[in-house]
Subunit: 222 residues, 2 copies
């Protein structure tokens, strides 16, 4: 399709800038994770729970991607955590040049972990690497157990998969076994963390996984 051909040079340029971002972060010993999900799956509340769990041991900043508004970065800042807002002005994903500018604003030597909240979308962010060490996706129970079948790409490229809002499972007709089985079929290696970000249920297993990787990247520097 014409669309894909037009996008090829764009993706190549994006990948080049992503490699530059990654080199900057590695030089500073900073781990960067890209959180992707549909609108309303609980990206911001997962970030808040992650900050609560890790802020004692690690220095954290957040890059907030939104089409419009700074609702989320205000929420993060109110917790005393540095947050850079990126408004894409219509684009359905973040790109490496936007992240490069955000990294320019942050003091990388004073950080261990950067969490990117990508634009709410299960499709567009899939193709765009940003220089992150891990891509992590969140699906929430109310979205339904059939989403791996409908949006296979994002399940395939994620390094870890969070299933959020598991506390609402009784209200929704969510077939956990079907979800796990089709997720496994698409991505046999990524861990699946079943959490309820707002109550804290299951969050520690996810943050332990993340902390281990942050620690490893920081140690590689010294």
């Amino acid at each position: 399709m014409a669309h894909l051909d037009l996008e090829k040079p764009l993706l190549e340029r994006n990948d080049r800038l992503a490699a530059e971002n990654k080199a900057r972060l590695t030089a500073a010993g900073v781990f960067m994770v890209d959180l992707m999900a549909s609108p309303g799956a609980g990206k911001t509340s997962t970030i808040l729970a992650t900050i609560d769990a890790l802020r004692e041991n690690y220095r954290i900043a957040v890059i907030e991607g939104d089409i419009a508004s700074d609702v989320d970065s205000q929420t993060i800042k109110s917790k005393g955590i540095a947050a850079v807002q990126i408004n894409t002005g219509g684009a359905c994903h973040l790109e490496s040049d936007m992240i490069a500018r955000a990294l320019g604003v942050l003091d990388l030597d004073a950080l261990d972990l950067i969490i990117i909240e990508n634009v709410g979308n299960l499709v567009c962010p899939t193709d765009f690497y940003l220089g992150e060490d891990a891509k992590v996706m969140i699906l929430s129970v109310p979205e339904g157990d059939d989403k791996p079948l409908k949006y296979p790409g994002i399940f395939q490229i994620s390094d870890a998969i969070i299933l959020n809002k598991v506390d609402t499972a009784p209200v929704f007709d969510f077939d956990r076994e079907a979800f796990l089985s089709s997720t496994r079929g698409l991505n046999p290696t990524a861990p699946v963390f079943e959490i309820a970000a707002t109550t804290g249920q299951g969050v520690a297993i996810w943050t332990d996984w993340l902390a281990e990787r942050v620690e490893k990247k920081r140690r590689a520097l010294s």
Copy 2:
């Protein structure tokens, strides 16, 4: 941005084909509605409830847009309704040429209403007209009341807005007044239908609105 410049010829071509689709539908007296929403907001269950309400008086077909899979079109077909599956193979929205091919498969003279289920996405479908008579978006309560602020484009261009899963409001921290107020600010004229597609709550007000428009288009022919 480079991205937008590259997309301009694509959008112009899309709009030309959209006008051709609309002319075909007008010649046949068929009303076409484009349903847009995030993954899991309840597009398919809203379509099923709409079919139940209108099938006695109108001849209906469904065009199913998905990145992958034919889960939804199988569900529609099992109700005895014609369904055409479009797999976009990665693209985050439907385009007019895909709809033109789907219209070629359907017998337009034997139809009154075509419902398009767009790819689950609050961003990409916004820019692409398909030749539809109305664009209708669905937001579901679990997605949160702040979505109009974060995804203003889709709220602005919709001819009607459905708030689905209102039966789950007690479980979620959804501020109905805040949602209605920011929606009104973006789009003062579109009606907002508060429904629970799976229980039928509120559905009749939405289907009455739709039936009125289907009727009008059919009558314009005779």
